[in-house]
Amino acid sequence: MKIVVCLKQTFDTEAKIVINADGQIERKGVSLIMNPYDEFAVEEGLKLKGKDGEVTVVTATGPEGQDALRQALAMGADKAILVDPGRADIDEFTTATILAKAIAGLEYDLIIGGFRAIDDGSAQVAGRVAEILGLPVVNVVTKLEVADGKAVATREIEGGSEVIEVPLPAVITAQKGLNEPRYPSMKGIMQAKKKPMQKTTAAELGLDEAALAPKVKALSFTLPSARAAGRLVPGEAPEAARELARLLREEAKII
């Protein structure tokens, strides 16, 4: 089976977010990782590809994104494509337009992506890619089975889960719980550098300025207010518990 995995490089989950003098999120000096939800997508692709299958990983970003692609190749993906948008002001529309264009030129049975990225968390890109390519999409999937040209996906819904069947090709977005991503092996790391990594640009794919112009514009960013210090409830356990219950009810109003 031929599988395409869309991935994104994001800030490390432990990175300290700083707003710079221009009111933008400072990217300098921040360590980058593969979006953890995309790791689930890569793992699922590797599990499903089968003996003669192939996993191609695609990202729409500047050259720094190749670290995440290299990691996916080291995990076992077969090919990587990096498309440089050539502009900084990209939104979900731009990213999806680029990814769909890159994927349209490939053979595929299944497209997988993380259901959202941990940085901007908009959860739009995979769905937009499906829309552009005219494919069915199943979001927030925690279990996936593929057979006979069909995918059966279990997805989270409010208060339970839902099982959906779609014909292939389809777009699936991965939720935590879908699998346990493997660590790249040492041999995988050595093989990764020999695997093909195609670096191209949106312009080379035939997308002009107009096609890429973002539809939304972020006006400002603010950091959440600092968390207030915790409070210790003093006294013997029975009294303290009573006092804690009173505080939770009357002050915090959460019980």
Binding site: D67, R70, Q71, A74, Y183, P184, S185, M186, K187, G188, I189, M190, A192, K193
Partner: protein, 379 residues
């Protein structure tokens, strides 16, 4: 000069760090407390190929260089020195002599499964009256027909009992001193090969340290490693490389302790401010970081020299000497920064301080490293 790691080395560091933090770190305190290694970790490391990093592909190795190997041991030791030494003793002491001195048959039979991690390796050199004085081994090997018969006792053997393949140094001709020694590959389970007591230690308590006992243990002749008479040479050559592994372990312990101390100094408050605001502690941490960086450069350089086919005995000794003393110094300071909490088992720095001490002792004490360095200077 070029101080940047390659893309593969960077990815290896990230991968091993993720693995160490997610899988090893949560178990480190308990393994130390119980004096027991969790061998499910070994299986996971084997699956990732951490058990055969510097060996070529034809023997199931990862085909990486020694700098990569040093980085992996460093990253494992950053969270758990016992895990670091399990890999280091297996790779440098157990597998490497077979890789370097073994016949093709020996490599296929022993090295390949060791690199895959299905067999664990160890070196049997130290005895009650022989260690760095490798020529003084009292364990004997007598050729009888197609077999050597081994008799004697080895002590302080890292990966003992759990190890499957042991490279054992024994004397074949007492009259020739160190020129009358030989190395043998001995499998666990060989009749006459048993294990004595398990050592209870100050540090690296999860690392298995056992006595090996040979009583008329018959080893097939084809398990002679290298030539009869080369035992001493094989032992010293193995220790040269092993020192890079231990230096990397020491470096990792030191880095782990500094990382803990930096994080703690930012959250611990005294006199209404984080203790990181006190210049006295800032200077302490600056000195810790500087020594660690110096140690790192020595360790990577020794590994790089090995990778490039240059003589590296002196550099490996320097790296081991400096990195181990750095680890002891840095971990002591880390405990100091943690204050009373640092002295308790609630925090990992006391374990790191206990673990650091052994790096000044095994695979040649700091004094032996100075002898090696001086001998190189004065030859």
């Amino acid at each position: 000069m070029y101080f940047k790691l390659s893309e593969e080395q960077e990815l290896l560091r990230k991968t091993v760090r993720d693995f160490a933090e997610e899988e090893v770190a949560p178990k480190a305190a308990e393994m130390d407390e119980k004096e027991e290694f969790d061998w499910t970790l070994w299986d996971k490391m084997a699956e990732m190929g951490l058990t055969g990093i510097p060996f070529s592909d034809e023997y199931s190795g990862a085909g990486m260089d020694n700098v990569s190997y040093a980085i992996a041991v460093e990253e494992l030791s950053r969270v758990c020195a016992s895990t670091g030494v399990a890999i280091s003793a297996h790779t440098s002491l157990g597998a490497w002599p077979i890789y370097y001195f073994g016949t093709e048959e020996q490599k296929q039979k022993y090295l390949a499964p060791m690199a895959e991690g299905t067999k664990i390796g160890a070196l049997g050199l130290t005895e009650p009256s022989a260690g760095s004085d490798a020529g003084a081994v009292k364990t004997t090997a007598v050729l009888e027909g197609d077999e050597y018969i081994l008799n004697g006792t080895k002590i302080f053997i890292t990966n003992g009992y759990y190890g499957d393949v042991y490279v054992v140094i024994a004397s074949t001709d007492k009259s020739k001193s160190h020129r009358g020694t030989a190395a043998f590959i001995v499998e666990k389970g060989t009749p006459g090969f048993t294990f004595g007591k398990k050592e209870h230690k100050l540090g690296i308590r999860a690392s298995a340290t056992y006595e090996l006992v040979f009583e008329n243990c018959r080893v097939p002749k084809e398990n002679l490693l290298g030539l009869d008479g080369q035992g001493f040479k094989i032992a010293l050559g193995t220790l040269d490389g092993g020192r890079i592994g231990i230096a990397a372990q020491a470096l990792g312990i030191a880095q782990g302790a500094l990382d803990q101390a930096v994080a703690y100094s930012k959250i611990r408050e005294q006199f209404n401010q984080p203790i990181s605001k006190f210049q006295g502690l800032q200077w302490m941490m600056a000195d810790m970081a500087t020594r660690i960086e110096a140690a790192r450069l020595l360790v990577y350089k020794a590994a790089w020299m090995k990778d490039n086919g240059l003589p590296y005995g002196k550099e490996a000794a320097m790296a081991k000497l400096f990195a181990s003393e750095c680890a002891m110094w840095v971990t002591t300071k880390a405990v100091q920064i943690f204050g009373g909490y640092g002295y308790t088992r609630e925090y990992p720095v006391e374990r790191m301080m206990r673990d650091a001490k052994i790096t000044e002792i095994y695979e040649g004490t700091s004094e032996v490293q100075r002898i090696v360095i001086a001998a190189n200077l004065l030859k």
